[in-house]
């Protein structure tokens, strides 16, 4: 595991000057990930905020090879690249060692690209899939996804006078991936760089399909000040809304246990998307979110034998 000092000496493979919003965590996730790669990587990416702000012709922030094809096919695209790599190596037309990373937002991963991800994992391609999960379709103007939490206001689950935001709980994608019996799956967060970079190195060192789900706060969609990205990330973990854990060959391991579990409302009250829930009549929704968070946390503790 590299120290912060060591990481700071490495060449940055994600250039500044891209058009992400100030405080956008997706770019932090990419930067940390690429710093953690010791073998050269080739990346694919879904349509979405990250792709749009980091590669506008004739510019690109990516100093590693990158392909963007469509919204739902990052995993299928990387499976083709990885197959080409194996074919060319077998035929002695390519000799270098490479690793492959497919990127996708929550929309491109939990929703429209879920089939492609599931297929690529089942086929056993040697790649790491990283979902930067900002809990909505940000690129197209903050529409709900299946990763949007209960009660959150988005432009397609608006907090109206009758319906107070999204009516469903979020999908548990990490465990859906785990159910594919992958050798490695994990959850991470940009505020814990050590945990994230360690997980990236570990995932890349393992042969076969690996997966990291990174909760990636979005200034615009969540509604907070750009300076608060890291603070809000930390709170997501300390409220146990987004536990940091990994599953290696079916074995769950908790990577971080908050000393004191903070009530979920402390995380929610910092974000405009939950503002309407703090009205008296919506209190029960916050309770519901708390209950769901507790239920999942207890379940995870059992799985991790904590």
């Amino acid at each position: 595991m590299a120290s912060l000092k060591e990481l700071s000496k490495k060449k940055d493979l994600f250039a500044p000057g891209h058009r992400g919003c100030a405080g956008c965590s997706a770019s932090i996730v990419v930067r940390q990930t690429l710093l953690a790669c010791d073998t050269p990587v080739v990346c694919s990416i879904c349509t979405g905020c990250l792709e749009v702000f980091s590669s506008i012709f004739p510019y690109t922030a990516w100093k590693v090879p990158l392909i963007h094809s469509l919204f739902e096919n990052s995993a299928a695209t990387i499976s083709g690249i990885e197959s080409a790599y194996r074919a060319l190596k077998k035929r002695k037309r390519y000799t270098r060692d490479l690793k492959f990373i497919a990127w996708g937002g929550d929309g491109g991963t939990y929703d429209i690209g879920l089939q492609a991800l599931s297929g690529a994992i089942e086929r056993g391609h040697d790649f790491l899939y990283i979902c930067y999960d900002n809990e909505a379709y940000m690129n197209t103007g903050i529409q709900r996804s299946s990763a949007t939490p209960l009660g959150a206001h988005t432009t397609t689950s608006p907090a109206g006078s009758v319906i107070p935001g999204k009516q469903q709980n979020r999908k548990d994608l990490t465990n859906i991936v785990v159910a594919h019996n992958v050798p490695y799956a994990a959850q991470a967060i940009p505020s814990n760089w050590r945990d994230l970079t360690t997980k990236v190195s570990k995932a890349l060192s393992i042969k076969g399909p690996t997966f990291i789900n990174v909760l990636s706060p979005c200034v615009i969609g969540w509604g907070y000040e750009p300076s608060e990205t890291i603070g809000i990330s930390k709170l997501a973990v300390d409220t146990c809304f987004w536990p940091l854990y990994e599953v290696e060959n079916g074995k769950y391991k908790l990577n971080y246990k908050p000393k004191e579990k903070i009530p979920i409302r402390k995380w929610m009250e910092k974000q405009a998307r939950f503002r309407h829930l703090f009205k008296k009549e919506n209190k029960k929704i916050i309770d519901e979110i708390q209950n769901e968070t507790d239920r999942k946390w207890e379940k995870l503790l059992k799985l991790c034998e904590e």
Partner: protein, 390 residues
């Protein structure tokens, strides 16, 4: 040259075996399933050392092909009908990124209603996707077209789709001449991609966001490349003909000399039309056939040259464009001749949807009607539907 009895599907799979591409990513669908199955058995038996990616959908098949081709591999796939429709979005990406993928397409109708038999709706539905489209009259052509398509695609950096007619050719056994494996390899040569994602020293970003300031120029280049592809097609046709003694062109002129009217057809129907024309010629009727082989790029200059001398051109379309003004081949062929001062009259016959049989007598009817128009100068109906109960 060795002779073999092969079905259309077997001939495509055989051509794929001889090409031995780096990557094949494919998904089964009737009537193309066999191509994928046969090719998988070639992989399983070690007759090719291709990486075969048995994907979970056609969308992923074409996506994986795009990824593999962008990584510098020689890539092929096969599909039909709903499969091609599901690939639709990705077809444009393959073309826009200038990736020379070859697709063995078995023409089949599109749902609804669901039907597994031949028409050209699927291929025509992707006619604007930026792929070269080559139609085959019989199994021999199917086989030859696949081999030529690989070279045409790679030399023009445009993906190419070779079609054969579902069941009529895909499942029809024919005696064909196949090339030796070494002949195929020396004909297609080694593939040297212009760019590769695996070139770590020279990292590239493929498929960035392209806004109002550049998108149009890039599309313009793509359009120009399609125009230029006509030269590649000519060159490859010539080389194939010189080496293997089977000549191909954008279209074939059949008994057009001395004809008064011409029928235009694609695919297996051209074979039926030839029989009908032979018999009409015996009756002394001056009719001929233009069999269109390359539909994309559309060979409008050459078509003008050949068709301008006829009084009437009857175009057979095995799909409808739902415009209510005729099928795609009709509208494009008719438009190609528009600027001539004297030009033929055009009529259109939509036929064979969902595998409805087209017979020699159907084609004779078309020819006789065209001869009548030639005499009277009167067109009763611009677009007619052949062989349907109305």
């Amino acid at each position: 040259m060795p002779l073999k009895a092969l079905t259309g599907n077997e001939s495509m799979a055989e051509a794929m075996r001889q090409i031995n591409p780096d990557v094949v990513a494919a998904y089964p669908i009737t009537p193309a399933t066999e191509v994928v199955q046969i090719f998988s058995s070639f992989v399983a038996d070690g007759l090719v050392d291709t990486e075969f990616v048995a994907v979970e959908s056609e969308h992923s098949a074409m996506s994986a092909c795009v990824g593999a081709a962008a990584a510098g591999a020689r890539v092929m796939t096969s599909t039909a009908s709903q499969g091609l429709a599901l690939m639709h979005e990705v077809l444009y990406v393959a073309a826009g990124l200038r990736l020379p993928i070859v697709l063995c397409e078995i023409n089949r109708s599109l749902s609804a209603p669901i039907n597994i038999h031949c028409d050209h709706s699927d291929t025509m539905g992707s006619r604007d996707a930026g792929w070269i489209q080559i139609f085959s009259e019989n199994v021999q052509e199917t086989y030859d077209n696949v081999i030529q398509a690989m070279k045409i695609a790679e030399s023009s950096r445009i993906p190419a789709l070779v079609t054969t007619d579902g069941f009529i050719l895909s499942h029809c056994l024919e005696r064909i001449e196949v090339l030796e494996d070494s002949e195929v390899q020396s004909f297609i040569g080694e593939y040297k991609p212009a760019y590769s994602l695996l070139d770590i020293e020279n990292p590239i970003t493929v498929g960035p966001l392209d806004l109002q300031d550049y998108y149009f120029e890039h599309k313009r280049q793509e359009i120009e490349a399609m125009r230029e592809a006509k030269k590649s097609i000519e060159k490859v046709n010539k080389e194939f003909g010189d080496r293997f003694r089977r000549r191909y062109d954008f279209f074939e002129s059949y008994k057009l000399n001395g004809a008064e009217i011409a029928i235009v057809a694609l695919g297996s129907t051209a074979g039926t039309a030839k029989v009908a024309i032979d018999s009409l010629r015996e009756e002394g009727k001056k009719v001929g056939l233009l069999k269109l082989r390359v539909f994309r790029p559309f060979p409008y200059e050459k078509l003008c040259e050949v068709l301008q001398k006829f009084k009437v051109v009857a175009v057979l379309d095995r799909s409808d464009s739902m415009s209510s003004t005729g099928g795609p081949v009709f509208t494009e062929a008719r438009s190609a001749l528009y600027d001539l001062t004297t030009r033929p009259r055009f009529v259109n016959y939509i036929y064979g949807l969902g595998g409805r049989e087209i017979t020699e007598s159907d084609i004779k009817k078309v020819a006789n009607e065209a001869l009548k128009i030639s005499k009277t100068g009167k067109i009763k109906e611009l677009v007619q539907y052949l062989g349907v109960r109305e």
